[in-house]
Symmetry: C2
Subunit: 217 residues, 2 copies
């Protein structure tokens, strides 16, 4: 029959838009998401999206926030018996896992929580748990921020292929210590995991030093 301009049931919803956009980001990357392409994927015309989101950035923010919502926060529950060190470690691992599952969203997430509800919930949970563990509020804020720096920085630096898998890009005359940089690219994932683990351990060990000085005072 005839195509109606407005069906009795809306064709679109925020949920459906975010689901489709997320799938597109995961499979084809951030650049594949244009309003026209996304709309086509949803079976509507481009401008229809503007009935549900103010602009494209809001759609991408919602996609990113769905990833933040996957981060496990149970280690920060009041009832959880984990030491703050263990909780912080387990949380960082869960956070990184969420980013690993959706590497293409990292450039959006790495810019901070902004006004994204799930992102803010993560920040709030870390802050609350650190304060309960005995950290002064100002330090608890710092810990939440610096952990996020490290985790998102790691995810961004890892997935974006920090080194190129091409030996000719690294002339040993220019970079005497990078002779095996192409091999480094080959084993990039291993290196990134190792660097993440080393850094995470160092971060928590170092915070422990500051914590001990704190409780002693």
């Amino acid at each position: 029959m005839c195509r109606m301009a407005r069906p009795r049931k809306p064709l679109l919803s925020r949920e459906r838009i975010v689901e489709t956009a997320s799938a597109l980001v995961d499979t084809e990357g951030l650049d594949a998401v244009s309003t026209r392409r996304l709309a086509a994927e949803l079976g509507v015309s481009g401008p229809s999206l503007y009935n549900h989101f103010r602009n494209k950035d809001e759609i991408l923010d919602a996609v990113a926030d769905a990833v933040s919502a996957q981060v496990d926060l149970s280690m920060f529950d009041e009832g959880d018996r984990r030491d703050w060190r263990t909780a912080l470690h387990d949380w960082a691992v869960s956070y990184r896992a969420a980013l690993t599952d959706h590497p293409n969203t990292v450039p959006v997430l790495a810019r901070g929580p902004g006004r994204r509800p799930a992102g803010l919930k993560v920040a709030d949970a870390v802050f609350g748990a650190m304060v309960r563990a005995g950290w002064p509020p100002a330090q608890a804020t710092h810990i939440g921020a610096l952990m996020r720096y490290f985790i998102t920085g790691s995810a961004l630096g890892s997935f974006a292929r920090g080194f190129v898998d091409d030996e000719s890009a690294y002339d040993p005359a220019d970079y005497p210590h990078l002779g095996q940089a192409h091999l480094l690219a080959e084993r990039q994932q291993k290196v990134d995991e190792g660097a993440f683990e080393t850094g995470l351990r160092a971060l928590i060990d170092g915070l422990s030093v500051q914590y001990e000085a704190l409780v002693r005072a």
Copy 2:
């Protein structure tokens, strides 16, 4: 009299393009750089740029690399007497300062050195110095990577969604006073600086713990 298609002296050079692009990025942000806009700024037509760079990404890479070139590496010189801890700290502070000077380039830089010469030189210097200090090569690689994660992650999380850049997004009904956004920006900057300092100290303290265990073995 007549306008020539090819003057005896080239109108463009890679240097001039990068200089103009850098100024545009610094003053108006990454999004302000379009090939047409940049070309207009240079007094030429858009396609002219393709005689000097393969594509726009290469121009942006060159802009980012100019920032990497500003990072002080003297603390990693063979003659320098600084302890590896102090060298790492001083380098991190210099690195962050370079990013602070050009916050709009951080999204490009945070993706890793790629094949950018100055970025690779930085990675090479850190690696070499850590190995000379007694770290095993695998650990030296990790240290270079994890420090970069933290520093770029910090810069991205701080500057990209700073309250200053975001000012237009605030509803004037909620923030009727002009000073409000400024206060938020100032507080955010303080938090970011504090988190960076706390994190940097923790990272180096934590690495020290691992180093002590290493030399004892």
